[in-house]
Subunit: 358 residues, 2 copies
Amino acid sequence: MSQKVHNFSAGPGILPDEVIQQAAQAVLNFNGTGLSLLEMSHRSKEYVAVMDEARAIVKRLMGLGDDYSVIYVGGGASLQFAMVPFNLLTADNYAAYTSTGVWAKKAVKEAKMMGKVQVVASSEDKNFSYIPKDYVVPADADYFHCTSNNTIYGTQMKSFPSSPVPLVCDMSSDIFSRVIDFSKFDLIYAGAQKNMGPAGTTMVVVKNSILGKSGRTIPSMLDYNIHIEGESMYNTPPVFPVYCVLLTLQWVEKMGGIAAMEKRNNAKAELLYNEIDRNTMFAGTAAKEDRSYMNVCFVMQDESKEEAFSKALKEANISGLKGHRSVGGFRASIYNAMPIESVQVLVDVMKQFEQIHA
Amino acid sequence: MSQKVHNFSAGPGILPDEVIQQAAQAVLNFNGTGLSLLEMSHRSKEYVAVMDEARAIVKRLMGLGDDYSVIYVGGGASLQFAMVPFNLLTADNYAAYTSTGVWAKKAVKEAKMMGKVQVVASSEDKNFSYIPKDYVVPADADYFHCTSNNTIYGTQMKSFPSSPVPLVCDMSSDIFSRVIDFSKFDLIYAGAQKNMGPAGTTMVVVKNSILGKSGRTIPSMLDYNIHIEGESMYNTPPVFPVYCVLLTLQWVEKMGGIAAMEKRNNAKAELLYNEIDRNTMFAGTAAKEDRSYMNVCFVMQDESKEEAFSKALKEANISGLKGHRSVGGFRASIYNAMPIESVQVLVDVMKQFEQIHA
């Protein structure tokens, strides 16, 4: 049995080994300055270079131009649930939302606190186990908000509707995992702690032209334009989390960019879903065509064997596989940094478990 | 010449060596779990214990009881400038503020965006070089807001006015630096990155009884009660920054608590101010009775010698001494973690500079 822990945590999630090594080094002595990155001014030329590159690399990976801005803010994606309507929802109109999981519902709830919202598609009728498809984005809404990947229920939008209004997407749990035409989107946000870094910062990519139109008085820290004007340093940013994001995205770029990530992720997801479908002891919980390639949710055909399976996972040094309480069972989060070897270890445990217990 | 860098940065500021070592270890392998703290679930029992203790140690150090709650949020103290009025300022009344520096002014500006504000004391007439004293906190305000230490101008409130209304204080740059009767305050907040940790989280200590009265619709992430109910885990917290805060506060406790910090800080500040007053080449910028024991601002009597002095500082491995652009000159930030030995190195450089250049 390997000593290595196979980290299937849903978030904060696995990071590349080399990112962790570089991050630890920066805590001790950042770039040979003799100072820890934890105690350095964010206005130092060394850190300004980090922030500039952390913003630039996002546009490079996404293939976006100067009509977009990238900022890093604190507060998590949950703060974006409020920032989006503050910046985009006018007092006399409404926003269109999809409701496809716990986080999507929270986004709806926050927007409703600030104005009118129309939920144009929901999968709540079947415990969010699928992605709604037959809906039209209304042309008179201020914007349309969707969630690309539902971490808790293990569903993922395989395509995005064409939107006559600004397209806003919470990509927290599958950002940079697959090739997408990012230029179709007007605002993308992602909490870093799933697929692009540690907890403590949220990336926002926004098309400049959609801002400044909500007519609201926006607290400065919630105003995208203020963060953009301040080059993501209006106030002290989350220095270390942003640096770790940069390291992670540099790793993505070095590995071959988003296309290479997609290839890795497809191989991992297919390996695991094939086993779930083949193995008589397990069943996937999400509709097959909507299965997430980031968060793989499954249950046991015989729930009474869950404890034994959990024990087998632990013996194989597999960590973080417990399903969210609202779905039960198991959830394997196989983010970008997860090596296929760890997925193979999980698949082997499932096979062995079937041989012993079936 | 020592290889050690003497870190006088105004923020993010110096942290204890042992905190940096422990933080780096946690990045590599947290508490022997085999996982980096950067990739661990915040719901893991190991991290829940971190958050619980990070909240408990604040009350222990401050001598506060169950009538107060402690939370850690993202967004910096700048987000508190908006959260305070959201939670405390009613639509039909006003709040009383002091205006004693750049950050205090920003707090005023954000509150004015949300309602009525009365600035009851200001030192803007003399470039914020002193602390206003002869004012009365109005008894009919919703709350009174002050800034205990003005990082940029190097002034510090040596005492706090008695307040007939909830007393709110931004203590970002001198939190845990001196003995204060914290029970006189109803809400204290502090960005971690000056005296209690790295950038990325802000601590809020609040008396529970003042909350829930503003009558406003508060976005969830800006609602103190929601963070309190979620035990500071309503959403994914800034995991690593909060852990570093815990390490720093454990160091404070081990060193003897706030009283021991005050003793250290008095010795450092007196050493440096005595030299500024004695040395013919330098002059302090703040009113003597209001001098900050955290941020020591001074200028050269002969401005043309600034470059030569900067060179001497660099040769002595002294970092972060450049004054803020709105004051000019120099600023030595001597937070809790700064050893008196580093202050002595600075004083020695000042003495030598006088011998050579006077």
